[in-house]
């Protein structure tokens, strides 16, 4: 693959409030589906947040698909969609349709096109019936589906998901997992404690105490990670 699918970190370190969160991370990734595993506090969420500029590197550079994230944060955020662990933190509008519509703010589409795009997106995720429902009345699984729909309607070329299934029951976790792994056209970086999900990716990264500890074939990484805690 070309530069167009490459995520490249060079000597990246992150220090927040005097604490070193990540250090000396250098990696090039061009796989389609990338899993990130590691214990709580290992720096994996910070790694995810570097990719769309929610966290700025203290040292080093982060390039996503040829875009320097620190230099062109706006372009980076159009390229990278971000799914948070807790959909409540991500859903910002009072009703389902409005939340999807928020993502298309400033897209220059006319009202009719906007309505059609929102309706198509909601139908694609099985949320069509709930268009006018208040967001707070949705179930956890529906909320995460909506969060994903609101991200994907912008057609990002990389989707970064920070533990997207952690708060979901088994059925909903599998559903979101399937959507991300099997049905997504964009490149995917998924931070997860769900090792089954990690194993279905093309490459896995293991973070440990702020260092990128290992990169490799997911089943091998997951096996090693499991042994660590056996």
């Amino acid at each position: 693959m070309t530069d167009a699918h490459e995520i490249a970190l060079d000597g990246v370190g992150v220090v927040l409030d005097g604490h070193t969160i990540l250090e000396r991370v250098t990696v090039r990734l061009d796989a389609r589906r990338i899993a990130v595993v590691g214990a709580n506090g290992s720096g994996k969420s910070t790694f995810a947040r570097l990719l769309n500029g929610l966290v700025a590197p203290t040292t080093g550079t982060v390039r996503v698909h040829g875009i320097d994230v620190s230099r062109e944060p706006k372009r980076a955020r159009a390229e990278v969609g971000f799914v948070f662990t807790n959909p409540d933190a991500q859903l910002l509008m009072p009703t389902v349709a409005e939340d999807v519509r928020l993502s298309l703010r400033g897209s220059g589409l006319g009202r009719a096109e906007l309505d059609a795009r929102v309706a198509d997106t909601l139908a694609a995720y099985g949320l069509g019936e709930l268009a006018d429902a208040p967001v707070f009345a949705l179930s956890g699984g529906q909320k995460q589906l909506l969060a994903l729909a609101s991200v994907l309607v912008r057609e990002p070329r990389l989707v970064v998901a920070d533990e997207p299934t952690t708060l979901l029951d088994l059925g909903n976790a599998r559903r979101i997992g399937r959507l991300l792994i099997d049905e997504l056209d964009a490149q995917l970086v998924v931070v997860t404690h769900d090792l089954e999900l990690a194993e279905r990716c093309d490459v896995a990264l293991w973070f440990h105490e702020g260092l990128l500890y290992e990169v490799g074939e997911p089943t091998a990484i997951v096996d090693a990670y499991r042994r660590e805690f056996a």
């Binding site: 769309n52 500029g53 929610l54 706006k74 955020r77 159009a78 969609g81 971000f82 948070f84 807790n86 409540d88 933190a89 991500q90 859903l91 910002l92 509008m93 009072p94 009703t95 349709a97 409005e98 519509r101 928020l102 993502s103 703010r105 400033g106 006018d132 208040p134 967001v135 707070f136 609101s150 991200v151 912008r154």
Partner: protein, 197 residues
């Protein structure tokens, strides 16, 4: 108090949000400024009830809105009975309740996005004074969306208080505010991540 949209096909549902907003303001002004007599109070009540009927909302809607406003009504009646005559207390209470019910009717029959779009249009002349109507609209939507979130935070703090058996009393506000501010941080991150400015 934020009545949420109830989908429907009535005349009031189909009327443009801007027109409804202007009519609501006009009615509110008339109700507030007209010196009331017993017949005019009756007419006010009749108009409000009639509008609810025109909106073809579920029968329980109007009583429910009144029930939601019960504390306002109670406090208004109680304080005014201390300082004013019973007649003035009645007039003022009917005025306020009628306006609250009309405002609820507006939100019951209008999608908040349509209402905000109408507000944004209405505020457009203010753009020359440096007001960004789109931003004001977004802020209002965010505020509406955050109300149930803050209510949920307050509920979970109260649950934690009960579960741990530590009575917090009025100090309950502190964790609620801390959690609400933390949520505000998350919202700021989400706005950034979603490319909204």
């Amino acid at each position: 108090m934020i009545a949420l949209y109830v989908p429907g096909r009535s005349l009031l549902h189909r009327a443009p949000a801007g027109a409804k907003l202007v009519t609501m303001f006009a009615l509110a002004l008339v109700i507030s400024l007209v010196p009331h007599t017993l017949p005019s109070l009756a007419v006010t009540a009749f108009v409000v009830v009639d509008l609810y009927i025109v909106a073809r909302l579920p029968a329980a809607t109007l009583p429910r809105q009144l029930w939601l406003a019960r504390w306002i009504i109670l406090i208004m009646v109680a304080t005014q009975l201390i300082f004013l005559t019973p007649w003035d207390a009645l007039v003022n209470t009917v005025r306020v309740v009628a306006i609250v019910l009309l405002a609820s009717l507006l939100t019951l029959t209008t999608r908040s996005e349509d209402l905000l779009a109408a507000l944004e249009t209405g505020m457009r002349p203010l753009a020359r004074f440096g007001v960004d109507p789109r931003r004001v609209g977004l802020t209002l939507s965010l505020a509406i969306a955050m109300l149930p979130v803050v209510a949920a935070i307050a509920r979970s703090v109260r649950d934690a208080e009960r579960a741990r058996g530590v009575p917090l009393g009025p100090r309950l506000v502190v964790p609620v505010i801390v959690l609400a501010l933390r949520h505000a941080d998350d919202v700021a991150d989400a706005l950034t991540a979603r490319g909204v400015d």
